[in-house]
Symmetry: C2
Subunit: 1003 residues, 2 copies
């Protein structure tokens, strides 16, 4: 009894640092952080929040480490170590000074190298509010091509380290998405759920910006989720000059702007002129905003390497501009932070803010610069990142299930951090230089290698045997050494979902016939399909495998595995089944029909629903220009800009071969020398898979080519299509239209492209068609009934947004070959449930481990992490080791309110097989604050204003009057916190994610 | 009695801060500076002194203030404020770190702006030896075109402020002349007299460098003066890579070199390679030096703006290179300073060092880059600087004589500091950008304007009347408002020399006849000479004066003045005397003869000595190249490189007019449209003046032109000529020859040019001929009997040593017109005495003040500062207000030992008319240390080794053997300190300068 009590106290104290409870803490230096550390606002003045900051890309023109150390200056003079070194010195010189730091990936790289004295100085600066962490993710993630699971992970990892090191004062309160190229609605929702008080944005569409400037609505309340409603509301501000300083006021050591020279005896004295220039700028800024608080960002990419050069001049600027108050100036400059700015606005006005419910995609910076190319750029790394997430979740779960203890944490962290880096808005986006992309891949590979140490250790511990399980990372080119070089091997299929799944297992093999048996000795049906030449010939593939062995693993337990023993039959050749006659090829409920004249598909049947559907590949020529003016913009890594209409890949009949058996039926199509495809149906999945292989893309003399696939149906979709927001919620898109402002599209194709993170769909009154992707891609529906997705691009010219390289990926000395899958499904009312199911099974796919058969080793070939599966509507989004003996458990209702879904209750008691949950305390989404302690600032809204915004916004005054009329106060935010500590029953409403720190007792 | 005692104590405590006496000081933080703060040397290793430093030009591509504040980045990204800001921070982080600071002009600009807390931190860093001031002059003065009086002044001013602020720990011990373009012998002497222990040089002739590398003699003892002997010996080191870091090891934020990356997990890890590269460099360096201590400069122009970027990497480099000691490396890296380096060498070896007695002029950096153009570049500013010195001395003297008190010090300091800036090696040298040259002139003008406030205040105080004396700064274009616009005015002539002088006064006037009377009413002879058109037409001249009024002021007292009343006679026209017949024109003992066929002079007579002498102007075409390789070097601001032989200005007869009277005789010659000259003799001076007016220089399509004047005599000078070293001592020059190494001249003209600061002379067994200059110029003797001086240059191309502009001066929209004088004298044995006398009278010329006649004002029209004149061989080099009630008094024996001069004794008692000296304590030359406390490090020498060095130096080993044999120890330095405190009699040996802080009692 006493021992248990001791354990409880210990556990409490270990998790104590996310609490603010005074009893559980050692004495710490006085803290004066948060809103109370803000410089006071001067009533009757326009308070100008001067925010010193640096924007440190976690890789872009240089690798992360090159940026950290400052090497490779041929690409950029930037060394983050110097920024942090000198900022600390500069802040220590004057308590009035403020600085924010954002990208924690860099911060920790620096922190671990510092002497204790420096660490103590930094703590002091954090505790007195001089140094404030903003956003606090491992990187400033992209919002278009990232998945919400990885966003949450990377935010959690950054926030956790801040919390562990600085406690409450290190807890960010504001989202700071100042550079990403467009903004997702789901990101707003995530920030709200993280407990943030606001989010500030740098880049929005140039037409929307003009509109918001004219209507004085750059500040608003953004509702992040219809399912979550008010709980997902967040105050959102769009900044005047992205994140840059006013023109002429960049005081960085690498900027050329004039310093403030206040020595009256100097011939260089310029205070009066400089102050006047600054005030003139403020006069413009204050035309656009409506409150007596404005924010002026004072920093830029990798600024503050010599922090003093900034602060020395800002000190003077603030002093001398404020001196003008004596002669009637209305401006009051203060050192500030984004949080002080948002708090000042909150304190100032109880007026209603306009509400936004759509998103900020796509982003255009001028009439011919639609940043929709990067939705697809570098498709291979975009897929690799998804694979990284899949394995990271497997790894975290196994770590927790086996309770590996802190000594293996460093191996887990390698993948956590690599995945955090991948989310960066120049990483997964594909908008980095080639050498940086290679470095990202290298980091991710290292993270996955280290995680394999974890999965091995965990499985060994759970099995109590000493075997070395290998993963097969090159299954995408049908290559795996263990399955190819052994006559017998054991395949272990791990399922990271919270419910059992069936899985069509495909393994590259050398022979034509194999037997597959499970634990009980039951033999499984198999099928052999030859590996087509267009796969075998992919550059870099090195395997003797000529076939794929297929069997169906059924009922793999939730958070568990099953193992199968595979043995070669060398003599027989019973498995290969070449096509039967006829054009319709089906397995169970699912079928496709081929037009033998074209070699193309013309109809699909899924679970009794059939639709006419054709599919083909096309390409755009990328526009080539010298970027000297808007009209001359090239298509590039960021920008998609087609030169002319869509082109046919070929007019010839497509060659094909069909293989059909009991498990799968597939057609191998060869379109031309660089495009092939396998269309596939199987016995268990309610989709048709389109497995495309594209590349090396041909080089023309001039243009790059950008390959798309187009699915054409007869659905009357009426200009409407749907794309997901970071894989979480679906957003309605209307062709040539933006929900909250009037768009004028100079680029009718690129301007209709949206990010597709997991799916894109169309529907009419009878049917729906959804295309699910295995990585982020740009997609659209340019004609009713059509879905178009861009698959691969080579851009032979830079688009002049900084990366300075053409996007022209190569591998093994040739143009890059990319392979990927679309999962097409059709349906009517049940379509949403169907796609959610498929999306989940492909995102958190089973993970395959292999080991050669060793007759001497006996082990448990089946394991279940959960005692009972969770309902289909609930998924354990995260199960990972936390500090001390605790775990973090994150539960998710995977459906949205609009899916007509109902709340569910999950009982945590007696759920896991390896441990019992003895207590669970709910936190904000990031796990860095007890939910009960989170009290977000409330900003009143007037509800949706979409309709209003269709008025002619050139008449600013009219608009303002109407806006004013609409301002009614509404009720306060309610914190959703329905958890009852005693019962361990968790209720989840549609779309809801709930995060708990759980204490466990091992069985 | 008690009051007197109190005064003495007060005075003692006021001067106490140059003392180290513990009784007279307030308690100060613990001091651990000087040699005892050096990191210990590791025996048995080669100790590598890593010296972090920044080289901050006091103006060059940008003005001083632009460099200080960091503005005008289009020319250079350099802001000294940031250097000092960040260096202080970086030093505070680690006690092992060291930094030196050199240019005190910048340091004080920064210091006065700092908060007390920062000042206290800096004091701590100085007291513990982390921050060491090296050299400590107001700027790093040029050594070719500067005058020793101004060098001493600028060193004194810098050292004084350091002493006042930091006491003993702020006292520099090493000269640091790392960028000046050649090195003068007198500078070595000055460093020795300043009490320094060594001097380190960056640039020496490339052939001499090769020679010294091969013979391992980059380190030596330099004897600065034959007159002073051993007392002027100073240890001198030539650094391996000028002042730059090893190639690839510039860790400045603006450098592109690779940082040291020691994170073994990083893909960027490079420690092993970087360390190996550094060690390879050290292997080369140690081939050249002979001791177990080498210096590695770690810094460059305006480096350390972000000090941390340097230190972070140096920390690692030192650590990891020293780690190699574990595996047998012989290198031991330590943070160090030049003084620690010199001290380590001193401690290590008592061997004899080779002795050098010549200088390091001219400097060539490659076969076609002789840095001899800058001896003449920007002749106007070179003259303006001399005028500045003249007025500064007048100003200091009057300040002291009138005892103005501290409230006027700031006005005096303006000129002190402007003159300090002018000495900088890119200021007076003319090697700055045009806008910077303009700024220098502006600074100097402001200094002179402020000094006029002083001279006025002083004279008013001494006269006890309130009149406003004006100076006439534009007498060089015969312009002066007061003398031109008033019918009557009083002229006051102040004499800054320590003996009475006579002076030919020339004043621009409007009328043809004036009367001049002195105090007693005595009327003076006058002469009127019309101002020639070639003067009247100088662009920018704006005066109604058409004549110059001439009279001779006789017996102007030492440190005193006489006034003369000048009144117009409007009716008569008695003064203009046009030439008499004949070709010989003389006044008293001095005459010139004209050849009427050519219009040129052909003979001179001075005091019974006549010689045949012709004079004419010529020009060189400047070489034009693209600077892509040595052979393509252009002639430019630094480099003189003629393209082809000397060209005649004209073949025509020179037009001339002669004016001859009792006071002066002069010929006005017009050579062509851009060259005119007045040759002039007068009744009191033993010289012939050549007053040349040159410009605007014509523009050819391609080449600039570089105008010289050539004096041709029949003296058999046998390849030998003499030029002065900073105006103090004369050095023997031999055509196509260097005294201590074998020269191979690819540029036979430019390579024979030497700096002429005050005079150049030739002689044969019978006669000598000297040309005295009024500003520094390049000069040579390319043929026996000839003296050639370069007067004015326009170089239409940059010479690619950084300035990045063609030297093409303009004024008032046209090419610059320059006017100046040569004073030619001839003689045999007495020539040295004669030239010294003339040089002094022209350098410290009388200063003319004018005021319109006001009959109501009566004032003392004569004043003498000294009760008795000093002997001709002694000059008060400096009399200036010091701290508290004290003055600094510097006495000089103006002759050298080689002039067959004798020691003299000067009695200070009862010397000055305004005050009595009650005590005088001798200091080192800079006034910043009591002489008795100065104990310089002694380095043994083997006497002169000139003969030895003519051996074939390719055989290094042979040379070394011989060098070794020559090493005999000789006696220790003796400090010359013959002053007897009681008597106040000061003995001065030839060439000696002695400095005293004197306490005075006012009469």
């Amino acid at each position: 009894m006493q021992l248990l009590l001791f354990n409880l106290i210990l556990a409490a104290s270990l998790i104590g640092f996310i609490s603010t409870s005074p009893t559980s803490k050692p004495p710490l230096p006085e803290k004066n952080c948060g809103y109370k550390s803000c410089h006071p606002i001067k009533k009757g003045f326009i308070n100008v929040h001067i925010v010193p900051h640096t924007h440190d890309d976690v890789g872009w023109l240089k690798t992360v480490d090159q940026y950290y150390y400052g090497s490779n200056t041929k690409y950029q003079t930037a060394g983050v170590q110097y920024i942090l070194d000198t900022v600390v010195d500069s802040l220590r010189k004057d308590k009035n000074r403020r600085f924010i730091y954002v990208e924690t990936a860099f911060f920790w790289k620096w922190w671990i190298k510092q002497h204790d004295i420096v660490k103590s100085r930094v703590r002091k600066l954090v505790y007195n509010g001089q140094l404030e962490f903003i956003s606090g993710g491992w990187s400033m993630n992209d919002e278009a091509v990232t998945h919400y699971q990885s966003i949450i992970d990377q935010m959690t990892w950054g926030l956790r380290k801040l919390n562990e090191t600085f406690g409450e004062c290190g807890r960010p309160k504001i989202g700071w998405q100042i550079d990403p190229f467009g903004h997702s609605r789901e990101m707003a929702s995530i920030f709200a759920q993280l407990g943030f008080d606001g989010v500030l944005l740098g880049r929005i569409d140039y037409q929307e910006k003009r509109f918001r400037w004219q209507t004085r609505t750059p500040e608003m309340v953004w509702r992040g989720s219809d399912s979550l409603g008010e709980a997902s509301d967040i105050f959102t501000g769009v900044m005047y000059n992205t994140y840059s300083p006013p023109p002429g006021f960049c005081f960085d050591i690498l900027c050329g702007d004039e310093p403030v020279i206040d020595d009256k005896k100097s011939f260089e004295y310029n205070v009066d002129r400089r102050v006047a220039e600054f005030v003139a700028y403020l006069d413009n800024v204050t035309q656009v905003y409506t409150t007596n608080n404005v924010i002026i960002t004072m920093g830029d990419d990798f600024n503050y390497q010599d922090a003093e050069s900034w602060f020395v001049n800002l000190d003077k600027l603030i002093y001398y501009v404020n001196q003008l108050q004596l002669s009637g100036s209305k401006y009051n400059l203060i050192y500030s932070t984004p949080s002080c700015y948002v708090n000042a606005i909150h304190d100032e006005t109880k007026n209603n803010w306009i509400m936004k419910q759509d998103d900020f995609f796509p982003y255009a910076s001028d009439p011919h610069a639609f940043w929709t190319g990067y939705f697809t750029s570098r498709p291979a790394i975009k897929r690799f990142e998804r694979l990284g997430n899949n394995f990271l979740q497997v790894c975290k779960q196994l770590y927790a299930l086996a309770d590996l203890g802190p000594e293996d944490m460093v191996d887990l962290n390698a993948l956590r951090e690599a995945m955090g880096v991948m989310q960066h808005h120049d990483a997964i986006t594909g908008t980095e230089k080639q050498h940086v992309a290679s470095d990202y891949a290298r980091q991710l590979q290292r993270g996955m290698d280290e995680c394999e140490i974890i999965t091995n250790a965990a499985i060994r511990k759970l099995l109590e045997v000493n075997i070395e399980l290998k993963t097969c990372p090159l299954l995408n080119v049908s290559q795996c050494t263990t399955t190819t070089t052994n006559d017998g091997f054991v395949v272990t299929i791990y399922n990271p979902l919270s419910r059992p799944v069936d899985k069509v297992v495909r393994l590259p093999v050398k022979e034509d016939s194999y037997s597959v048996n499970d634990l009980q000795g039951t033999e499984y049906k198999t099928q052999i399909i030859p590996i087509p030449d267009f796969i075998k010939n992919i550059p870099g593939r090195s395997s003797q495998a000529k076939n794929e062995l297929i069997f169906i693993a059924r009922g793999i337990p939730a958070l568990g595995w099953k193992s199968y023993r595979v043995m070669v039959y060398r003599k027989t050749n019973k498995n290969i089944i070449v096509s039967k006659k006829g054009n319709k090829h089906s397995v169970k409920n699912t079928a496709f029909i081929i037009d033998p004249n074209t070699g193309l598909i013309n109809s699909l049947t899924i679970k009794n629903v059939s639709i006419d559907l054709s599919q083909n590949f096309f390409y755009y020529n990328g526009f080539v220009g010298d970027n000297s003016k808007f009209e001359n913009r090239s298509s590039g890594a960021y920008i998609f800009r087609p030169d002319g209409p869509l082109q046919k890949i070929t007019n010839k009949k497509v060659d094909y071969k069909v293989y059909e058996g009991e498990l799968v039926a597939e057609i191998h199509q060869t379109f031309n020398e660089y495009i092939s495809q396998i269309i596939r149906v199987n016995a268990i999945d309610d989709y048709v898979e389109f497995d495309w292989i594209i590349g090396p893309l041909p080089h023309s003399d001039r243009n790059g080519i950008e390959v798309v696939t187009k699915y054409q149906s007869d659905l009357k979709s009426n200009s409407v299509f749907y794309t997901d927001s970071n894989g979480k919620q679906m957003l309605k898109r209307v062709r040539n239209f933006r929900p909250s402002w009037k768009v004028n599209l100079s680029e009718p194709v690129a301007g209709n492209y949206y990010p597709v993170t997991t799916q894109i769909s169309i529907k009419d009154t009878e049917n729906g068609l959804a295309v699910l992707v295995d990585r982020a891609q740009g997609g659209t529906s340019l004609k009713d009934g059509e879905i178009e997705l861009m698959l691969h691009r080579n851009c032979l010219h830079d688009d002049s947004f900084g990366v300075g390289e053409a996007l022209n990926e190569t591998a093994f000395g040739r143009g890059l070959v990319v392979r990927g899958s679309h999962y097409i499904t059709v349906g009517n009312n049940g379509l949403a449930a169907l796609t959610k199911d498929i999306v989940q099974r492909r995102l958190l796919d089973t993970w395959t481990f292999v080991v050669p058969v060793d007759e001497k080793v006996k082990y448990n070939m089946e394991f279940a992490g959960l005692k009972r599966p969770l309902p289909k509507s609930v998924q354990i989004l995260t199960l990972e080791p936390w500090t001390g003996f605790d775990f973090l458990l994150r539960l998710e209702h995977v459906f949205e309110k609009s899916d007509q879904s109902q709340p569910v209750v999950v009982a945590l008691a007696d759920l896991f097989t390896s441990f019992e949950i003895i207590s669970a305390q709910e936190t904000t989404l990031g796990g860095n604050q007890w939910l009960k302690d989170n009290h977000r600032l409330h900003f009143n809204t007037n509800g949706t204003v979409e309709d209003l915004l269709y008025q002619d916004y050139n008449i600013v005054t009219d608009y303002e009057t109407e806006t004013h009329l609409l301002r009614n106060s509404i009720k306060r935010h309610t914190v959703i916190n329905a958890f009852d500590d005693d019962s361990l029953n968790v209720s989840l409403s549609p779309g809801q994610i709930r995060t708990f720190i759980i204490q466990i007792k091992k069985y």
